[in-house]
C-alpha cells in the first residue's frame, strides 16, 4: 500500500480550513474522497461522500517473469490464469503459488477465455496469434490474417466460437472451434481493442483511434453506439441489457526516444523510463435503449479494466496510481483498493474469488476479506510546512473506531518518526510529539461495521520570522532591470513619473499573515519617515510611493515585515530590508545661453540632480524630434553644454527651431529660436 507523499507546504493547503480557533491555529480536514485517499487502505474503502467504510483487504503475490498483466481468467478450481508481458507467459496463481501455465513466447498475452469445452484460448501480440493453452503447452490455434495484434477475445453465445478484436486494421474476427477464421467486421479504425458478446448474439467492440463503441449485429453490419471522448474504448462489460464501457483520452503521445543507429541491432541496454502522462478516464453506462450515462470520470488517470459484480455494480481499475473504484447507480464513487503498483491490469469482483492483478510491478492481489476487524485506514502524510504541535483529533463515526497519530520531520515515514501514539476512541488530544509531518490512522477492530468521516486535526506551527529578501524601488513605468534613468543616445526620451513603485519579496516559512511598513529617507539623512498614511495597514508586497512633494535627491526605501496580525504581541517577529537608491527628481532642467548662429546651435542645460539625459530639436513645429549630442559627447552630469551643427536637420531659410532638454527623471524644458 502506498503513502502518497506531500512534500511541499503549499500542497498541504488543500487540507486547511480557515483559521477558526486561536491565533496561528490551522486544521487538517480530511472530509472528501480525494483528501481521504492516497494513504494506506486495508480492508476499507473511501467513498465520494467522504466516508471510509468496509472495503477490500488485499493479499500480495508478486509475479516473477512479468512486468505487466493484460488479462485474467478464473478457472473452475479457483485458480487464476494471468496473461502477461513482456515474455508472453500465462501464469497460474493457485493460493499463493505462481507457476508458468504456458509460454506463448509472444510479447504479451492480451486476453484469455475458456470455451464451454474447457479449452483455454490466449490472444497474443504482435504476430496476430491465438494459442490453445494447456498446462505446460501453448499451441498456435489460429493466426489471424492482417492482424498484428489480437487485443481481446469474447466467447460467442454458443460458448464454442469466439470473436477476436484486432489491430492495426481494425477488424473483429470470428473464429470457429475448428480454427477457421473470418472477418466479422472491418472498421475504419486502426485498432479494435475490446469486445463483448450480448445474450442475443450482438457483438460490442470498442476502438482505439476515435474511441468508438460499435454494436455489430451480423457479419459486416455494425452501428456506432457512442463516440467516446478521447481515443479508445478500452473495455466493455454487459449486465442485464445494460452496456458498460470505459474510454480513455490520452492526447498526443510523447515522442518516442530517439534511437541510436544501432538500436534494435546492438545489444540492449537500459531502456528509457520516461514517465508517461496519465490520460483521462470515463465510465459510461448504456441502457437497453442505448442511452448513455456518464457514471464516473477522472481527469488525472485513465482506466484499464472494468468488471461488474453480481449486483451490476461497476468496478474500474485505473491506469495510474493502481486504484480500483466502484460506482453505484447514484453515481457515488468509492475507492475500494489502492495498490502500490501503477496499473490495474485485470480485475475480478465476484463475491467468492475477487482479485486485483496489477502491472508495473506485476502483483496478484487476492481480495482476502472485505472490511472486518483487521481493517485499517491510514491517511496520506500531512505536511504542516513547519514543525507543529497538534491539537485535539476529531472525527465523525458510526460505531467505535480507534484513531491514532504519528509524526516526524521527514516527508517519508521512517525510523526517525514517532511510533503510533496510544489510540483514542473518542475525539481528544493524542499524545504525539511535535513534527512537520503527521499521519492519522483508524482501526476497525472494535466495530467492523463502523464508518469514518470528517477527520480534523488542528495544529500550530512554530512562529518563524518573516524575512524580506529583496526590495525594489523604481519609477512606475520604468523598464525593469534596464538603465531607465539614462536612456540610450538616440532612444526614446525618458518619461517623467513621480510615483515610485516599491515591491519586495518575503520568505514566510510559516505562511502566517503579514503586515508591512514602508519608510524612506534621503541620502545623507538619518531619520526614516513613514511613507504610509497613519492608519494605512499594508498587507500586499508592493506599494506606490508618491514623491511629487519631496525635494529632489536620492532616497532609500525601507520595508518592514511583521507577523503581528497572527501572533500575540510577545511572539511577534519582524524583519526589515532597505532598497537600493532611487532618484526623486520632479524639477525640469534649465536651458541657458541658447544661441543659433547660422546653423550652429549652442546652449547649456543645468539640472538640480541630473544628469542631463538628452538634447533634441524639432523644426517648424513638426513632431519629429531629432537627438543632439552634448558638446563633450557624453551625458554624464547635471550641467551639459550643447554646441552642435544642425545644418543637416534645419534646412536653409527661416525656420522655428525648438530645443528640448531632458533630465534623467524625464523632466524636460523647451526653448524656441528662429533660424535665418
Amino acid at each position: 500500500m502506498r503513502f502518497l507523499l506531500v512534500a511541499a507546504a503549499c500542497a498541504s493547503l488543500g487540507f486547511l480550513a480557515s483559521s477558526a480557533h486561536a491565533v496561528g491555529t490551522r486544521t487538517f480536514e480530511l472530509d472528501t474522497l480525494e483528501r481521504l485517499s492516497g494513504g494506506d487502505l486495508k480492508g476499507v474503502a473511501v467513498g465520494s461522500d467522504g466516508v471510509v467504510r468496509a472495503g477490500f483487504t488485499l493479499g500480495n503475490v508478486p509475479l516473477t517473469d512479468a512486468t505487466s498483466v493484460f488479462a485474467a481468467l478464473t478457472l473452475a478450481d479457483g485458480s487464476v490464469l494471468l496473461g502477461t508481458s513482456p515474455n508472453g507467459k500465462v501464469l497460474k496463481v493457485q493460493g499463493d503459488q505462481v507457476s508458468v501455465f504456458c509460454d506463448t513466447k509472444a510479447l504479451a498475452v492480451t486476453s484469455l477465455i475458456q470455451a464451454a469445452s474447457g479449452i483455454i484460448y490466449a490472444a497474443t501480440m504482435p504476430e496476430g496469434k491465438v494459442f490453445k493453452c494447456t498446462q505446460g503447452k501453448a499451441d498456435v490455434f489460429v493466426t489471424l490474417p492482417d492482424a498484428s495484434h489480437v487485443w481481446a477475445l469474447a466467447l460467442d453465445k454458443n460458448k464454442a466460437s469466439f470473436y477476436a478484436a484486432t489491430g492495426p486494421e481494425g477488424k473483429v474476427f470470428r473464429v470457429e472451434p475448428g480454427g477457421q477464421s473470418s472477418v466479422h467486421y472491418h472498421s475504419d479504425e486502426p485498432h479494435l481493442v475490446s469486445v463483448a458478446v450480448a445474450d442475443n448474439g450482438d457483438v460490442y467492440a470498442g476502438s482505439s483511434g476515435k474511441g468508438l463503441l460499435y454494436r455489430i449485429t451480423g457479419p459486416g453490419r455494425a452501428a456506432v453506439v457512442y463516440d467516446f471522448p478521447g481515443e479508445e474504448v478500452k473495455s466493455i462489460a454487459l449486465w442485464k441489457g445494460t452496456v458498460w464501457a470505459i474510454g480513455n483520452e490520452y492526447g498526443d503521445p510523447p515522442e518516442a526516444p530517439r534511437r541510436s543507429p544501432a538500436a534494435g541491432r546492438a545489444q540492449p541496454g537500459p531502456v528509457s523510463t520516461t514517465k508517461a502522462k496519465p490520460g483521462k478516464g470515463t465510465l459510461f453506462r448504456f441502457d437497453a435503449q442505448g442511452r448513455p450515462e456518464r457514471m464516473m470520470h477522472h481527469d488525472d488517470m485513465h482506466y484499464m479494466t472494468l468488471a461488474l459484480d453480481e449486483a451490476g455494480v461497476a468496478f474500474v481499475g485505473t491506469g495510474a496510481e493502481g486504484r480500483v473504484y466502484s460506482v453505484n447507480d447514484a453515481h457515488a464513487v468509492t475507492l475500494v483498493a489502492d495498490t502500490d503498483e501503477r496499473q490495474v491490469g485485470a480485475l475480478d469482483v465476484s463475491a467468492q474469488r475477487a482479485f486485483v492483478a496489477t502491472s508495473d510491478g506485476a502483483v496478484f492481489h487476492r481480495v482476502v476479506a472485505r472490511g472486518g476487524g483487521d481493517a485499517v485506514w491510514t491517511s496520506k502524510v500531512l505536511d504542516a510546512g513547519l514543525r507543529a504541535k497538534f491539537g485535539s483529533l476529531s472525527w465523525r463515526a458510526s460505531g467505535v473506531l480507534e484513531l491514532s497519530l504519528r509524526s516526524g520531520n521527514s516527508a517519508a515515514p521512517d525510523a526517525a518518526w514517532s511510533g503510533w501514539a496510544n489510540p483514542i476512541s473518542a475525539p481528544g488530544v493524542v499524545a504525539v510529539q511535535p513534527g512537520r509531518y503527521v499521519q492519522v490512522r483508524a482501526r476497525w477492530g472494535r466495530d467492523p461495521k463502523a464508518t469514518l468521516g470528517g477527520v480534523t486535526l488542528p495544529f500550530v506551527t512554530d512562529n518563524v520570522r518573516p524575512v524580506v529578501t529583496e526590495v525594489n524601488a523604481a519609477h512606475r513605468g520604468s523598464r525593469e532591470g534596464g538603465s531607465a534613468t539614462v536612456p540610450a543616445s538616440g532612444g526614446e526620451p525618458p518619461k517623467h513619473e513621480s510615483v515610485v513603485k516599491v515591491s519586495w519579496k518575503v520568505d514566510n516559512a510559516d505562511n502566517d499573515p503579514l503586515r508591512y511598513r514602508v519608510a524612506f529617507r534621503r541620502e545623507g539623512q538619518t531619520l526614516w519617515r513613514d511613507a504610509l498614511k497613519t492608519d494605512e495597514i499594508l498587507t500586499k508586497s508592493e506599494y506606490e510611493w508618491e514623491t511629487v512633494a519631496l525635494p529632489e535627491g536620492k532616497y532609500r526605501v525601507r520595508v518592514e515585515a511583521s507577523d503581528e496580525p497572527s501572533n500575540p504581541p510577545d511572539q511577534v517577529q519582524k524583519h526589515t530590508l532597505e532598497s537600493p537608491l532611487v532618484l526623486v527628481d520632479n524639477t525640469p532642467p534649465v536651458l541657458n545661453a541658447v544661441t543659433l548662429a547660422g546653423r550652429k546651435l549652442k546652449a547649456r542645460a543645468v539640472d538640480g540632480v541630473g544628469p542631463i539625459a538628452r538634447f533634441e530639436i524639432a523644426v517648424d513645429g513638426k513632431p519629429e524630434w531629432r537627438p543632439l549630442a552634448p558638446a563633450d559627447g557624453v551625458f554624464d552630469s547635471a550641467d551639459e553644454a550643447l554646441d552642435a551643427d544642425v545644418s543637416a536637420v534645419v534646412p536653409p531659410g527661416s525656420h522655428i527651431v525648438a530645443l528640448r532638454a531632458f533630465d534623467a527623471a524625464g523632466n524636460s524644458v523647451v526653448r524656441e529660436l528662429e533660424s535665418q
Binding site: 492495426p168 540492449p268 508517461a276
Partner: protein
Amino acid sequence: MGLLTTLGLTIPLARGDAKPRTIGVDEIKDGMKGYGLTVFKGTEPERFDVEVIGVLHNFRPSQELILIKTPHPRLNITRAVRGMSGSPIFLDGRLAGAYSYMWAAFGVEPVAGVTPIAPMLAEMNRPIPPGFWPIEGKAPLPPAGAPGGGGGGKRPARGPDGGTTMWDGAPGTYDVETHARQIADRLGARDASRNLIPAATPLMLGGMGDKATAYVKKIFEPLGMEPMQVGGGNTSTVGAPEHYVNGGALGVQLVSGDVSFMGLGTATYAEGGKVSAFGHPMMDAGNTSLPATIGRIFWIYASDQASSKIGESARPLGALVQDRMSSITVDEKVTAPTFPVHVDVTGVDGAPKKTWNMNVAEERFMSASLAAAAFGSVVEATVNEKRDVTWSLKSKVWFRGHGMIELEDFGVAIGGMPDSGDFGHSRVARAIGDVLNNPWEHARVEKVESTLAVSFTRDLWRLRGIELKDSVVDAGGTARIVLHLSSYTGPTVQKTIDVRIPTELAGKDVELEIAPGYEVVPEASAPESLDQLIANETRQTAMPKSICVSYKLPQQGVAFNGHVAPRLPSFALDTLRSQTSDTGPDTFTSYGRTIVPLDRYVEGRDKVKVKVRQVVR
C-alpha cells in the same frame, strides 16, 4: 626463467633427440659463440653461427632479450629475416632461446634479439582452459560432458581469456576495420618509437590480386604481420616431415585452397607433440585455435628494408593453441576449426575460374576479415574489368545449431568492381564477425556458399523526381505518386505507385519519404540471444531492388526480445513500457511503409507532403 635455469632443465635438440640442457640468461656472457637452426631452403634446418653481443635486461616485463650477431654467408646479405622468428639459438651447446626480434627497418648488420627459452617453455606447458571452445579433438580437452567440458551444458559466455582479438563492441555492430584497429591498439604495434620489434610474421598470400593484397596489408600489417604476395596454397606433402622439428619452418594457415594466407615462422622446440615457436606473439591472442602447418621454404628474400623467408605449406599439422607474449605454441594432436567458403561466379563469360573453394580459419577476428579478403580476391581475379558492373553476392551462411541464413550484398559499380575493402563491410562478413563475437554462446560457422552474379551493365534507376497526383487524399484512400526514373542510357520512365493512407492520419499533413529499399532499415528488437542476433542479420534493410514510401504514424511501437510491435494503441504502449523496470521493451516511432519491387536498384531520395482529408459519408 630463473627457476628453470636453476633446475637445470634439459630439452631435446629435436624430436626424439636426447635432451640437452638449457642455458640461463645469467650464464650468458658477451662474446659467447654458438649456433642457430633455421631452414634456408626446403624443410631441413641448417646451422648458422651466432655470437652474443649482450643481454638486455627487462626488455619486456620480467623478460630479458639476448642480442646476437649471426655471421653467415646468406645472413650477412639478408641480415635480420622475417620468418626466422623462432629459430632456436644454442650457446655452449645448450638451448638459449629463439631468434625473435629485429631492428625496425634498414638494419645494416645481421643482428637480432633472442627470446630466452625459459618463458617459452613455461608457455608451452600452459594448459588450455577446460572447455576452451574452438578446438576440436580430444586432448587436451576434457571429454564432453565432463565438468567444464566443451561438450555439454551451459558454456561460458566468452572464452576464459578475453584475448587480444576479442571484439570490443555491441553485438550487431561488427566492423572488420574497427576490429582490426582495436587489436592494433591492444598490441601497441603502431608504436613507431619502438626500434627493436618482433621479427614480423610474414604472411604468405596466394591466389590474391593486388587490391586484395593491399586490403590484407591494411588490416594485418598493424598487427605485426607482413603480407607478401608470393603464391602457394596447393599443399603437397611429398617429402614433407611428419612432425615439427627444432628449427623447422612452421606456418599458421589462415586460409587455404584457391586463396591462401599463411603466417610463417620457425619452430624453436618440439616435444611430445607440442611445439614452441616464434619467440614472440603472432597476435597475442592468448588461447586460440588456428590451423598450423609444417612449412617449406623456397628462398630468403633479401631486402635493405626487411628481408623475409618465402615459403608455403608443406603439411597441415595440428593447431596453434597459445599465442603469448614470449612465443606461440602448436599442438600437433588437435585440429583447429575452419569452415569452407565456396563461391560461384556467374555472368562473366570467359573467366578462367568461376568456382572458388577456400577453407577459412574460424577465429573471431580472422574469419570475417579473411572472408572479405577472399571475396575480394575472387572478384579481382574474375571480374577485374574497368567497366560498369551490376553485381550481387548472395550468400548462405550456416551456423552450427542455428540453421542457415541468406544474405545479399549488391551494388552497381561504375568503372569497376568493388574491392576487398568494400567486402569488409559486406553483410556476409559482418554477419560472420557478429556471430563469432556474440556474447551469449560459442558459435560456429559451418560453411559459406556464395554466388557472385555479375552483369556488365549499369543496372540502376536514378530517381529523377516525383509527382504527386493528388495533393489531398481521403483518409483510408490512396495517394498516387508518379516516380520519374532515369537510366544510364535508356529513356526516362514513369512508374505510378499507390500508397494507402491509414484513416488515423485524417486531418494531418503527411510527409511521404521516397527512398531506395536498401536504405530503409526496418525496426528490429535488440538481440537478447544468438538466435535473435542471427535473425537480425537478415533484416538489415528492405528489399534491395525496390522503392519504399514511408510515412510517420501517430502510434508508437515497441521492440523487445525478438518481437517488433509497431502501431500500438495508447493503452498497450503505456502498459508495455514499465516504469519500474528498464529492461523491458524499447519504444520506437511507427512508420507506414509501401514497398514496390523494381527491376533495378534505385539511387536517390525525395519527399512530398500530402494533406489527408477526413472522409465524411
